[in-house]
Amino acid sequence: MSADQTLAFDPDCHIFTPCGFPAPGLHTFLYEPIATVGGFEFTKPMLLALLSSLAVIGFFWAAFAKPKLVPGKVQMIGEAGYDFVRRGIVYEIIGKKDGEKYVPLMVSLFFFVWIMNLWSIIPLAQFPVTSLIAFPAGLALMVYVLWVGLTFKKHGFAGGWKNILGYDKSLGAILPLIMLLEFFSNLIIRPFTHAVRLFANMFAGHLLIVMFSLATWYLMNGLGFVYAGASFVMVLVMTAFELFIQAVQAYVFVLLASSYIQGALSEHH
């Protein structure tokens, strides 16, 4: 690949030249395939997704493959992360008794999503995989199938519908309206918001970092260097902020997944 292909913009383009600002946009999130295998286009985000798996497994392998009663450093960090999701999210939301079964799922989800987000600020990768809707959508779909399935398994067909639609006789005349709202809210909007919340945060964050990075480069000409400095400070600020948002969004994604499962298992929600 030549330089102009990998950078996706003209490196000679600066302010005070007859060249406009190469603003980032939707195209920032599109990648040429690295390789094409039998018509299947393998792209950088896919590679990063698989590397995320490798990173998560690699870390937990180092931490938990041969766990010791008196933990080493890596095991201690692993235990802290494991305990954070287990006690901090699953036990808190679903409860210890019902939740224990879903701990592995939630731990996997949290660290997988977090690492996929984290690529955003890692040199060379510099792309949050979750800023492509397909990745959060896949995970949200999985959680959706799980909680809907659990609802019907736990409450039976009629009971499951009652649970999902918030059936409550005391509501009287407005019950049909509530049921309609609940239907849309729980079955249609919920999986959408679950995926989009993560996607949109990562999408916007990445866009901002790319925008300030491009601007820093673009402004490096004559008087523009002053503005470039300000823009570069923004890159640093946004990078630090993203580091925070990445963890928060992974946390929120798992928190919501837990609360959906809790709703499926409880009598009323």
């Binding site: 060249c19 939707l26 497994i57 731990v107 896949g138 995970l139």
Partner: protein, 181 residues
């Protein structure tokens, strides 16, 4: 701003429409993570966490039992010590009493012996005095009779009269001695 964007050739589509291939790859990547964590790594650590909790609880139990044992041993020692003190006090008391009794006995015995000796001494003196008095009476009577016989020139043969006279004389002497006392 022309045409150096990588993706410019492709028409950017709605970002909310997921690509099926990415979705599949994402789910596969997650399935790999979930498989490793759920089947191997998390059970591993759960086992160790349980073992650790048991070890800690066991340690606490051991410490508790040791403490209880130490407490009971301490109480036992205290009880033994108190008993020993009591015994010592009792023995001392007994010894004191015995000592006092022995001293009292010895005193009584000494007193008794002293009195016996004194009494024996008195009796002996009395007997000696009587013997001396008897002997003296005889000797004095004889001497006086001899003397008187020589003086008056007559033989006082009548023993009974002699004896009566001497006795009267001696009695007078004794009365005089009594009166002089």
């Amino acid at each position: 701003m022309n045409a150096l964007f990588l993706a410019a050739a492709e028409e950017p589509q709605n970002p909310l429409l997921p690509h099926l291939d990415e979705l599949v790859i994402g789910l596969i990547a997650f399935a790999i993570v979930f498989g490793f964590l759920a089947k191997k790594l998390l059970p591993n650590i759960n086992k160790v966490l349980d073992e650790r909790r048991e070890a800690i609880e066991g340690g606490i139990e051991k410490a508790e039992s040791a403490q209880i044992e130490a407490q009971s041993v301490l109480e036992q020692y205290k009880a033994q010590l108190a008993e020993a003190r009591h015994e010592a006090a009792r023995l001392r008391q007994e010894a004191q009493e015995q000592g006092a009794a022995i001293i009292a006995e010895m005193k009584a015995e000494g007193q008794r012996q002293r009195e016996e000796i004194v009494a024996a001494g008195h009796a002996q003196i009395e007997a000696d005095r009587k013997a001396a008095a008897a002997a003296l009476r005889q000797d004095v009577g004889k001497l006086a009779t001899d003397l008187a016989g020589k003086l008056v020139g007559e033989s006082l043969e009548d023993v009974a009269r002699q004896s009566r006279t001497i006795d009267r004389f001696l009695d007078e002497l004794e009365e005089k001695a009594e009166a002089a006392r």
